[in-house]
Amino acid sequence: MTPERIAPPNILAIEDDPVLGAYVHEQLDRCGFRVTWCQSGLEGLKLARRQPFDLVLMDILLPGMSGLEVLLHLRGEQTTPVIMMSALGAEADRISGFRNGADDYLPKPFSVAELQVRIEAVLRRVALERRHMPAVPIPTQTTQGTLTFDELAGDVSFDWQHAELTRSEYRLLEILWRNAEEVLSKPFLYQQVLQRGYSRHDRSLDMHVSQIRRKLKAIGYVERQLRTVWGKGYVLTMADADV
């Protein structure tokens, strides 16, 4: 799951609650991140301007300058990924956070494991984007195993039958194929395929998975299967003999 990194990622956490802030700081440190923690929006904005961070983790309700304002200022200057946290939880807040350019939104209360998954998903997406930008190492037609990927048409075929995937389904299948046998978390797949954060009741990705399964079955491809890993994510794996 961890791509090649030399230095631990630098994270700026802006959280005014001393208990939650200290806890997040401590736990993320333990997970191998280098965390700078500050308690006000203005201070956080100053810090972000002074030194580069890999990611900003920020509450929406902050004393002085609100998290959404900080986000607005940040987006005017840099592209550092931002994850918003809030106890407001309402749908409206989510939407306004994303409109201003937050990369993900985490409703409180959350577990540290969940936070870690989200942070890794965003960091990994950013890393992949930077790596892939110069050259996409996929030829127009690649035969991998027996499934043929057609990057131009955005479709796969098996035995000359086209699966007729949609654009999102193709991207999803492609990224699972690249990382075959590796469980990819839902937050990461949302970031990578749908370019947005994941929330509890969001079913878009599940629908894409369901459609890919149906379409692969329809063209008779059974060598690898798209499996759900309960509570974690999805994996493309060799089909078991007994299933």
């Binding site: 939880g89 309402a90 009741h201 629908m207 399964r213 149906r214």
Partner: protein
């Protein structure tokens, strides 16, 4: 300008009828009364005519008594009573007295008026009247300059003030009062109603004479009444929700308190804490979700959803959760069943129904999703074999925090699942209701079909 003509019952027609009628009435009244008053004021009064006829009779007597000399004497006598010119003339228009007429007087004798002729308001000089002798008109006539006190139309200005000023003003006042009654009184009642709402008096309703009106004001009244009732029910629901929520939160809190006081070892305490926190979080999330679905006025963005694909995800999840074999969850729909809805809320609705069905199923029970196309809609149903519910509770199970007899508290449900499911469907233009299918409960869903 007129995008559409006002309806038959519109207040426009009432106003138009009243205003046009009133204007015509005023114009007609002013015109006819003005004419009448002018005419009435143009004639000599009865008294004036009597006096003047009397003069003519006296002149005749004077003539019969003393011819020319008699006339002279009488004229002399009259000169003291009347200041204007008086003469008595014969058939030949010559004076019957001894004094002949001068030029100017002869000239004026050609413009004589009768006693019962109307006098003109426009003539400037004082008119001369010619009154023939009453007994024998052929003998001669009295000619007299109309004495000023007999001038007709001296009170004309008063009459005119009355007919073109006071009476129209009074009528307009009456008309204004009528309009006020027609238009403003209902508005005042609406305002009173609004004030009552401000003071939280929810049982105050508009009188029927407003809500039964056929015009725009009636429509306004009905809309207002509808709004009141909706607010009333909404406030009641919110209050109920708050009461239920605080009640439901007490259960995990009291369990936590028991654990805190009673549990001695750390590991079981941690596990209990985790369970209770999960439960409380789910309760708060679900309640917020319900409140959100209930108050959301923005239309949910709709998309085409293939029910079979959605079912496969949900069935897979349900098997994970419950440990059921996939063969116990069956679906008889084919890939052609596409509906138009909001994916996440529809998925949540179906998931809640499925969880509910699984929870109430016997140990070897099956859950089945079926459906059929019904015109522009899809009718879907989820059957379980859990025995169903009593007929009078089929509607109650959709109310929030409803738990039927026999379900244990804390078995994973707060009685919000079905309520959220129904609200989700309503929010995307669908509907949901329940019936007993013999072996268990059938929950029906009506959804808009995808446009082909």
């Amino acid at each position: 300008m007129f995008k559409q003509l006002p309806g038959k019952t519109s207040v426009f027609w009432k106003l138009a009828f009243l205003l046009v009628g009133f204007c015509l009435l005023m114009i007609w009244l002013s015109w006819s009364w003005g004419r009448y008053v002018l005419l009435q004021n143009a004639y000599l009064s009865k008294e004036a005519r009597q006096v003047l006829s009397g003069y003519a009779a006296q002149a005749e007597q004077a003539w019969e008594a003393g011819q020319s000399a008699g006339i002279d004497a009488w004229l002399q006598q009259m000169g003291q009573r009347e200041s204007g010119w008086i003469g008595v003339i014969g058939q030949d228009l010559q004076s019957l007295g001894s004094l002949p007429l001068n030029q100017a007087q002869s000239q004026r004798l050609t413009f004589l008026r009768g006693l019962d002729w109307p006098t003109s308001q426009r003539s400037k000089g004082v008119p001369w009247l010619k009154i023939p002798f009453p007994k024998d008109a052929s003998l001669g006539s009295l000619v007299i300059e109309l004495p000023e006190r007999f001038t007709p139309g001296r009170y004309l200005w008063l009459w005119q003030l009355l007919t073109i000023g006071l009476i129209p003003a009074l009528l307009s006042l009456l008309f204004c009062a009528g309009l006020y009654r027609l238009l403003i009184v209902p508005l005042n009642q609406l305002r009173e109603q609004a004030n009552a709402l401000r003071a939280d008096q929810w049982d105050n309703h508009l009188p029927q004479q407003i809500t039964r009106r056929q015009d725009e004001l009636g429509e306004l009244g009905r809309a207002f009444e509808h709004m009141t009732r909706r607010l009333q029910s909404s406030v009641a629901v919110q209050q109920q929700l708050l009461r239920d929520l605080s009640h439901e939160l007490r259960t995990p809190l009291s369990r936590l308190r028991v654990a805190w006081e009673g549990e001695q070892t750390l590991e079981p305490l941690r596990q209990r804490l985790g369970r209770e926190i999960d439960g409380m979080q789910r309760l708060v999330d679900d309640t917020l979700q319900l409140a959100w679905l209930d108050t959301e006025r923005e239309r949910l963005p709709l998309e085409d959803i293939q029910i079979v694909a959605l079912w496969e995800i949900l069935a897979e999840n349900a098997c994970f959760e419950s440990g059921w074999l996939p063969s116990r969850l069956t679906c008889s729909l084919d890939a052609g069943c596409w509906v138009r809805g909001h994916l996440n809320t529809l998925a949540q609705a179906l998931e809640n129904l499925l969880r509910n069905a699984v929870r109430h199923s016997p140990s070897d029970g099956q859950v089945h999703l079926g459906g059929r196309r019904d015109g522009e809609q899809w009718l879907l149903w989820l059957d379980d074999q859990g025995g169903g519910v009593a007929a009078d509770e089929l509607e109650r199970i959709f109310a929030p925090f409803t738990r039927l007899e026999g379900s244990r508290p804390g078995d994973g449900g707060f009685g919000l699942g079905l309520s959220i499911a129904r609200h989700s469907l309503l929010a995307q233009g669908g509907d949901m209701w329940a019936e007993n299918n013999g072996a268990g409960l059938r929950v029906n869903m009506r959804l808009t079909a995808r446009q082909d």
